[in-house]
Amino acid sequence: MSFVAFLGAIETGLLYGFLSLGVYLSFRVLKFPDLTVDGSFPLGAAVVATLITQGVNPWIATVGAMVAGALAGLCTAVLSVRFNILNLLASILTMIALYSINLRIMGRPNVPLLNQPTLFDDLETVLPVWVILLVGLGLTKVLIDFFLTSDLGLAMRATGMNPVMASAQGIYTDRLILLGMAMSNALAALSGALFAQVNGFADVALGVGTVVVGLATVILGEAIFPSRTVRWATLAVVLGCLIYRLVIATALNADFLGLRAQDLNLVTATIVVLALVLPKANLLAKLKR
């Protein structure tokens, strides 16, 4: 793998890091199997691209994308909590609806962002994109750590682990699910918004398989760096993201494997299966010895 390909993999890994932290919040903290991210990731891209092409400041556009993502998460949570729709189904419904909404927002399936201002314009003259992303992702991780170890964050973790006990301790579990899902999808939309600005386009098909990528990185991180505390768990998620991208890049670049770009999803599925099966088979422990 060339250095450029390596940097590209790191950059993509960092871009998807925000998404992975969001998926960690829904799948791991709230134990809410949320497929909404397949819609909120391209939603973030769509909102940011549309706003920027209409002359809105990229920073404000990015915040707007996060707000849109939060609303998408709220929608899923309300369907599940208030109307008692099965959580997985609620998220699928929102995801499907978002496909149409994303098309409406953009007005067409694809919006290019070439020669448009982006968030990175001011910073890029000083620092390379991957450094900016690394700092941003690190900051986000620290903020999430701070939140999850606060009284409110602890209540959210208890809601996911033992909702009966949580409500007996005076925790309004419904509200925390709403809050957690909003945060999770705001992060997914942030990922999408940054993706659009780095890669110079937003596309309605951008979200296909996003949730699998997010889950793959979370599971991979947990498999390689098993940990009990929040700080280490979120760090494992971020590292999982980078390793996942490097593995993908290596697999696709290794000529002897004969893999091509269209094999991406197959490689992803294989990585998820390996990450799920290997720790159980205790093979990793044996390999480490």
Partner: protein, 261 residues
Amino acid sequence: MISLADIHVTFNPGTPLAKPALLGINLDIAAGEFITVIGSNGAGKSTLLNIISGDILSERGRIMVGTQDVTTWPTARRAPLVSRVFQNPLAGSCADLTIEENLVLAFRRGQSRGLRPALNNRLRDQFQARLASLELGLENRLCDRIGLLSGGQRQALSLVMATLSPAKILLLDEHTAALDPKTAHFIMQLTDQLVTEHSLTTLMVTHSMRQALSVGNRLLMLHEGRVVFDARASEKVNLSVNDLLNRFGSDALNNDSLLLS
């Protein structure tokens, strides 16, 4: 201080599976009372607890705590008034959280939860002091996950959690039923000690008549959703297992588990 008036509960209402669980419960609980509740399976003991905790809402009637009408309040809203220990030791705590995290969750019962860091050293000292009095060595394991503890240790911790912040009533739902006899005895002693120490108003459901007679100062017997026997302090002291069997042996107590334990 706590009064239930005309409480009715039906499970699966309006379906062919409809089953009446409580049929007009009227109950006044005075401050400081320690009530034990017995009855055969399906008598409505657990439903009575769930009615007070808010996990089940009554179809009609009224529930007052002090001067507050809590009839329609959900569980979380009643939590400042009601603390609870579950039958299953796994139900009352979070296995994947540490001892100190579980304790602080219980410590904040009835307070609003904000973005302050949940734990600090002042709280840890406080928790250590409380745990030390259990003499289980838990005070040195604040950072251990609850999942590492035995059932008895978890139940002892649940009791501490239930008494960590003030409540109008403590609900104990057969909280020694899942434990071995020795551990059950220890948990019962601890219960008695904590209830006396904090002068708690307590409602304890039990499947053991002996336990129901040996602790507390009032005894309720439920049968098919109604209170069939209510023995107050002086009356309860003179009761024996045989008295209960003689009075209610024919129908209310046709349950082997009640007789054997």
